[in-house]
Subunit: 305 residues, 2 copies
Amino acid sequence: MEFNVLILGSNSALPAHGRHPSAQLINIHDQFYLMDCGEGTQMQLDRYDAKKSRIECVFISHLHGDHYFGLFGLLTTYNLMQRTQPLKVFGPLGLKKMIATVIHGTGNELKYELEIVELDFEDGAQLIFEDREARVVAFPLQHRIPTYGFIFEEKKVRVKLDGRLLDQHKVPEGMREDIRAGKDFTDENGKRYPASYFQLEQITPGRYAYCSDTRYFEKLADYVKGVDLFYHEATFLDSEKERAEKTLHATARQAAETAKNAEVGRLLLGHFSSRYKSLNDFSKEAKSVFPHTYLAVEGDVFSID
Amino acid sequence: MEFNVLILGSNSALPAHGRHPSAQLINIHDQFYLMDCGEGTQMQLDRYDAKKSRIECVFISHLHGDHYFGLFGLLTTYNLMQRTQPLKVFGPLGLKKMIATVIHGTGNELKYELEIVELDFEDGAQLIFEDREARVVAFPLQHRIPTYGFIFEEKKVRVKLDGRLLDQHKVPEGMREDIRAGKDFTDENGKRYPASYFQLEQITPGRYAYCSDTRYFEKLADYVKGVDLFYHEATFLDSEKERAEKTLHATARQAAETAKNAEVGRLLLGHFSSRYKSLNDFSKEAKSVFPHTYLAVEGDVFSID
């Protein structure tokens, strides 16, 4: 019953300093979602031993190349891997035409069902996706072209079990999910224990927000209010605030301001400009406003619990 | 006065086993040409310290994604690098529409001049490009969609100089090109030496042929007759000959047969299927027909002289 985020790409605009364009793999109880898909995402998935075949849905924040140029390769690779499982791709208006032009231009027809859902709204948050394990809500960001932020939310309450008691009563691995769900356990001597005996605490459903690219705007804090983990672009340091304003990007300090106003659990910074080789100052700058700040380092996994 | 080929990608269809989709950087006397541009080519150029800004021309063999999905990222990166030098891209019919759709879809207009030349002929070889240092000839291959092979040819005769004599007479580095071109040299004592005194031998212009993807066909040997270095796809081993025929690809043995019939200098095999982790058998199979066979290993540089 994991809920975590694997960082696949953390650089803005172009690959540099060993950092790749934007992409993240989100795992909610073994359902996998790809958030953005910059060039080379399929290689990054391989590098970190992520099973790309299990991705059920792809979410594209906006149609700047560093957020989706890897999509064409991934869709084609699925074809070559004989994928039969349908794939859903969410993204802004224009994505359909682009995929049609490029994929048809390759002379290939996809052998699996590809459903492209174009987002086209300018205000408010909308529930755009729901499966057994998760809900995904989208809301508009403020960038040079239509861009959406996303909140990934667990649907089920998770129950933590007491590992010491499980071992003591030799509860088989395969029965633990049942106990979590409230089923009693009978040990090898026939003695029966209520599920509550093993249950430590109930964990409220976790929420993860992804916001990139965007300029600073106050309403964003309302959209992401109280999420457990908050990924926010930090293309620049505050010393380049003017450049951030001009290009509709944000600084580390601004990301931290939003995190503070939204009272999130932890802040995760990414989408770093190539002008910065070292990222130490991003951490320092944001922490001075919001202490629970982390850098999106590629290969790192952030758990939501 | 170098003429060489840097291998950037050698795998077919999708990245696997640490191998990348097709791309090569061709250097003819410090003029740089990119041959195919699979996903991740810009990262591969960085990895091997190749100056991507100096690429003058890109040649796309055909519109299967593993040969051009990296082009969108490269064109966008040039914009971000403030490129002003014009760029020429040659490729089959359809490339123009694809670039227009994707690049415009990114919300960016390119700030440098991009000239796209679409190839659209079914027979014979055509001179498609010429600059100070090189000529490029294209000819049709036989694949599932329109595909072209290319010959890169030096225009100038190269002259090899006698390094021992140059050192003995203290000829400055900056004057060696003049001596190659036939200019006399006067030493520090005022003594004059004719250029021919230093000239060892004249090297006839080198030719490099790139052929991928293609099925085996006899006429190909005529197109590439006598080239110094011959890159030919070897997607499969001969044990998968039927699969090669079905998909209009070639085997290592077939590549070697063409190399032998064309009396080329050396054969370079690439575009290996992901089904093969080890490539030893490709080398063995081809060498049994054509001994001067090499494998296109990424990062390796092959000189033509």
